[in-house]
């Protein structure tokens, strides 16, 4: 489905929601894609290749599940130094993948979801740092997930795929770090759910994280947030095409449910003002049609977004990742005391939030900051006065980017990372053949 109007196309470019930014832009007809590419290519990491690492060591999950063996798909940008102390791990959020920066030779329009943040001379400068991003297991962009074949049955895992938690993802990321010979990351960074992973790294593996960047994150979802996730999941599981999670065998996908889940999520990632600014009450024709089909641009936009999303995203992954969000609560093991939960952390922290983000509000970030200060950890907190809601973490904002840039300058200075010491090595795993990174996408 193409964009319904040029106006809608315009709003699609910045309207990135985790993971869908690029794909969102791509199918819009018109010249905007060219503009986007021209802007990013100035200091882009350029063409990149994803790699697949097969791990034979079983992954025992927090929930008691077991992945006997699994694939991890990842990308790297920049050049490692001799002791790989310039490595930075970037963790992705709900809808995103390992494709953080650059583009693919076979698909040059597929620009990474945080390309404005990561690249030569960008806030996370790949001239200095060796950046690693991995598709988390349970996702649907190439790493083992519910749509993958369970070798024991020869059929897709489906409903039998083990539930993953943030803790499990950190474990899987640590195994990738092992394979890459990275003892400790100069930084672990993420936005939204990615920020949860960065926090978990700092708490669970303090000796392997020198610094952590938590953008638009929280240490636990609020009841309202869990409620949104529950509505999204109910939309999926009540879709007649869901088949208890084993829809692959039926040759269908619960697209209706996925579309609703995506619509709901998308609304919550934007602020009321941002939506009004983008769409207002613009309608598709001068006269109201007085029917229940699309009359307002915002409806057209949501339908377009959700249709696309339902094509490439896996419903079981949506269930799994929203559940991982719900369950994340490091304070729970400490009687609800987040300060106690953070006691083991050693990293230098940067926490950033956006004033208009009502899904992961500044208040949630301030709770994290307080817990870190209680432990006398090095922490800085930036509260960016941005109008875009939760999505702001993916957008260009000079203050936000200057804050991240300044933090990484300090990280580089303190850890003696100057970009001069370059010791490239053969990355483990095998390059993905063109097109296969699309994972579940039909």
């Amino acid at each position: 489905m193409a964009c319904s109007s040029a106006a809608v196309c315009l709003v699609l470019v910045p309207a990135g929601v985790p993971g869908a930014v690029v794909a969102t832009t791509l199918e819009c007809p018109g010249g905007l894609i060219g503009v986007t590419r021209a802007m990013t290519s100035v200091s882009s990491v350029g063409a990149v290749t994803a790699r697949r690492l097969h791990v034979d060591q079983p992954l025992q999950t927090v929930a008691g599940g077991l992945l006997p063996a699994y694939d991890l798909v990842y990308e790297t940008y920049g050049t490692p130094n001799a002791d790989r102390s310039n490595a930075v791990l970037v963790c992705h959020a709900l809808n995103a993948s390992h494709h953080v920066a650059g583009w693919y030779v076979e698909d040059p329009r597929n620009v990474g979801w945080w390309d404005n943040m990561i690249g030569p001379g960008k806030p996370l400068d790949t001239d200095r740092f060796f950046v690693v991003c991995m598709n988390n297991p349970g996702s649907c962009f190439g790493s083992t997930g519910p749509a993958s074949i369970d070798p024991r049955s020869g059929r897709p895992w489906g409903s039998s795929f083990p539930l993953m938690t943030v803790t499990d993802w950190v474990e899987a990321q640590a195994r990738l770090a092992d394979a890459l010979g990275i003892e400790a990351f100069a930084a672990v960074m993420g936005g939204s759910l990615g920020a949860m992973q960065a926090l978990q790294w700092a708490i669970a593996r303090p000796d392997r994280v020198k610094s952590a960047v938590l953008v638009a994150g929280t240490a636990r979802l609020t009841a309202q947030n869990i409620a949104f996730n529950e509505v999204a999941r109910r939309a999926i599981v009540t879709d007649p095409d869901f088949h208890g999670g084993d829809y692959y065998a039926h040759g269908v996908k619960p697209k209706r449910g996925l579309r609703l889940a995506r619509m709901l999520g998308h609304i919550t990632y934007l602020s009321d003002d941002a939506m009004m600014e983008k769409f207002g009450r613009a309608s598709r024709s001068e006269q109201f049609s007085y029917h229940f089909d699309v009359d307002f641009e915002v409806e057209s936009y949501l339908r377009y977004q959700s249709d696309k999303f339902a094509e490439y995203f896996d419903a079981n992954t949506y269930l799994l990742i929203t559940r991982a969000l719900d369950y994340f609560d490091p304070a729970r093991l400490h009687g609800g005391d987040l300060s106690a939960a953070c006691a083991a952390a050693k990293a230098r922290f940067l926490v950033a939030s956006f004033t208009s983000d009502w899904r992961f509000s500044p208040e949630r970030s301030r709770e994290v900051v307080k817990a870190l200060i209680d432990n006398r950890l090095d922490v800085s907190y930036a509260e960016i006065d941005a109008p875009h809601g939760h999505d702001a973490f993916l957008l260009d904002d000079w203050r936000y980017h200057a804050v991240v840039r300044a933090f990484f300058e300090t990280v580089a200075r303190e850890q003696g990372i100057d970009g001069q010491d370059r010791a490239p090595f053969d990355l483990p795993g095998t390059p993905l053949v063109p097109g296969s990174a699309a994972g579940f996408a039909a």
């Binding site: 900051v369 307080k370 200060i373 922490v379 509260e383 203050r399 200057a402």
Partner: protein, 204 residues
């Protein structure tokens, strides 16, 4: 809106005084920390564990470049995020005159910190008095703003601040007054342009 470490840091007289007062390794909160110069000075000279609070974006960025911990926030919303008695010292350097809720903030300083340290430009300085006598709002090194663009809303004299402390059961532990970087020991409310106080809450 306030909280941006305002005005130039005249010399380093107040910095040195503060550094002398802060114990090595102490935990320090610097309200309106500007670009983090004072905290960096305290870290380098006294090995303090410090955090600054600053509202302005460019100063938050400057702190980050300085490698100083900074929390972006508005001092007029108080220090609600900080536990009582959680810091050895809470500093308000050349920011007192620019906050709106001055009374609340000074009391908050003494809730969160065991000691408070305040520096402010002395409105009673003779040059300021002369300018007022001449019919104009004073403009000086410590008060570099014109009346129409000043962020300063609560200017006071040394005498005023002494009275304030007495009225709020605040015990002044030490007071230093400077003019152009030199100590002023007599007629300080007239001859001093910069006052530096160390105080604590009177035991109740």
């Amino acid at each position: 809106m306030n909280g941006g470490g305002l005005g130039p840091r005249i010399g380093r007289a107040d910095f040195d005084a503060i550094a002398d007062w802060v114990k090595p390794g102490a935990t320090v909160l610097d309200l309106g920390c500007g670009d983090g110069t004072l905290l960096r000075h305290l870290r380098e000279t006294r090995a303090v564990r410090g955090y600054g609070i600053e509202i302005e974006d460019d100063k938050v960025i400057a702190c980050l470049k300085n490698g100083v911990n900074v929390i972006q926030g508005d001092l007029d919303r108080g220090l609600a995020g900080f536990d009582s008695g959680s810091f050895d010292a809470v500093i308000l350097s050349l920011t007192l005159q620019a906050v709106r809720q001055t009374e609340d903030l000074v009391l908050e300083m003494l809730r969160v910190g065991r000691e408070g340290i305040v520096t402010f430009p002395n409105f009673g300085y003779w040059r300021h008095r002369l300018q007022v006598l001449a019919g104009r709002m004073p403009v000086s090194g410590e008060l570099p703003y014109s009346w129409y663009d000043t962020p300063n809303v609560h200017l006071c004299t040394i005498q005023d601040f002494d009275d304030f402390c007495a009225r709020h059961s605040i015990r002044v532990l030490e007071r230093l007054v400077f003019c152009e970087g030199r100590r002023v020991d007599w007629l300080s409310n007239l001859r001093g342009s910069l006052a530096v106080y160390r105080f604590e809450r009177t035991a109740t």
